[in-house]
């Protein structure tokens, strides 16, 4: 009887593992406060540099908020040092890097909302 319960438990456990979805890390949204961000014509280099990361899904730039935000692809991430180096190589200074819970679309809507 005890042996039967063990078999039943092992079977149930294996089925649970078999049918459970494969979980990956969710996409991340990263915001960066950038100094010197005043000219759209000149800031193109930032977007170009950030989109060059294989992990980048999308990029948003706001001159008004002096903010650059990006979303990463599912399961991918970009380290703070890499981001800082990318923005420095684009000719700008990074004041802060934050990881946000909201999606990049939510960030975009927040930036476009009138004060």
């Amino acid at each position: 009887m005890h042996f039967g319960k063990t078999i039943l438990f092992a079977f149930a456990a294996s089925m649970t593992i078999a049918i459970a979805p494969v979980r990956t890390a969710a996409a991340a949204t990263i915001e960066m406060d950038v100094s010197g961000l005043v000219c759209a014509f000149c800031a193109q280099g930032i977007e170009k540099k950030l989109r060059a990361f294989p992990a980048t899904a999308d990029v948003v730039v706001s001159l008004e908020k002096r903010l650059v935000a990006l979303s990463t692809k599912d399961g991918a991430d970009i380290g703070d040092e890499e981001l800082k180096r990318a923005l420095t190589d684009a000719g700008y200074s990074v004041k802060a890097i934050r990881r946000e819970d909201e999606t990049l679309d939510a960030v975009r809507h927040r930036l476009e909302a009138k004060p």
Binding site: V38, Q44, G45, K49, L63, D89
Partner: protein
């Protein structure tokens, strides 16, 4: 030669790129092409590639037509542009660029081709509302020496954002040496840019057109 600039109150600035008014280095791994028609006194075309945000390499062609005695010079040159310093401020950016190059020049006041030496600098300061730039571009050879000094002051009627069409109203003062033009040439310009395309058009006080187009990619 910079006397007209000294009185302009633009002491915050240093100097600038080519005769063109935009920055000589757009961004790292970026290519910039530019063409300018300057009121019949100068025409210029340039193409630069920037391996870094502080360096671009390329070449150009410059033609000057004297408004005084009809002398012309055609100069083809190779040039390196260098970002000497950049100030990234909270609500502004300021830059100092310098450049130098060599080329070949021909003209109607001397025979054959001469080695052209080119040097210049640009200083600019920009917020989302105001823009100022001072530039000086020198070309000289054994047959001539000419320099174009340009001061631009601009303001934006609205603060554009990254995806917007940007509009600027710009007042320009330009001084030519080398018997190209008498006095200071004043011009009023409208500048528009969106994405990687930039168009600037206007007219001088003498009623002559000025046009500049630039593309970054």
């Amino acid at each position: 030669m910079l006397k007209f600039l000294a009185g302009s109150g633009a002491g915050i600035l240093l100097a600038s790129a080519s005769v063109a008014q935009a920055k000589p280095i757009a961004f790292a791994n970026g290519t910039t092409v530019m063409a300018e028609y300057g009121a019949g006194t100068m025409e210029e075309a340039q193409a630069f590639y920037a391996p870094y945000y502080w360096l671009s390499l390329g070449g150009g062609w410059l033609r000057t037509d004297s408004d005084i005695d009809g002398r012309t010079r055609d100069i083809r040159y190779l040039r390196a542009n260098y970002l000497v310093h950049r100030w990234n401020l909270d609500d502004a950016q300021a830059n100092v660029f310098a450049w130098g190059g060599l080329g070949s020049a021909s003209g109607n006041t001397f025979r054959g081709n001469r080695l052209d030496r080119n040097a210049g600098f640009q200083a600019d300061y920009e917020t989302r509302w105001v823009y100022a730039a001072l530039m000086s571009d020198l070309h000289e050879s054994s047959a001539y020496s000419q320099r174009v000094d340009t001061l631009q002051l601009g303001f934006a009627p609205y603060a554009h954002d990254y995806r917007d069409l940007a509009a600027w109203f710009v007042v320009q003062a330009r001084d030519y040496s080398g018997r190209l033009y008498h006095g200071v040439e004043w011009a009023a310009l409208v500048r528009l840019f969106k994405g990687g395309a930039w168009v600037e058009a206007g007219v001088t006080a003498a009623g002559k057109p000025q046009l500049m187009m630039m593309f970054n990619f």
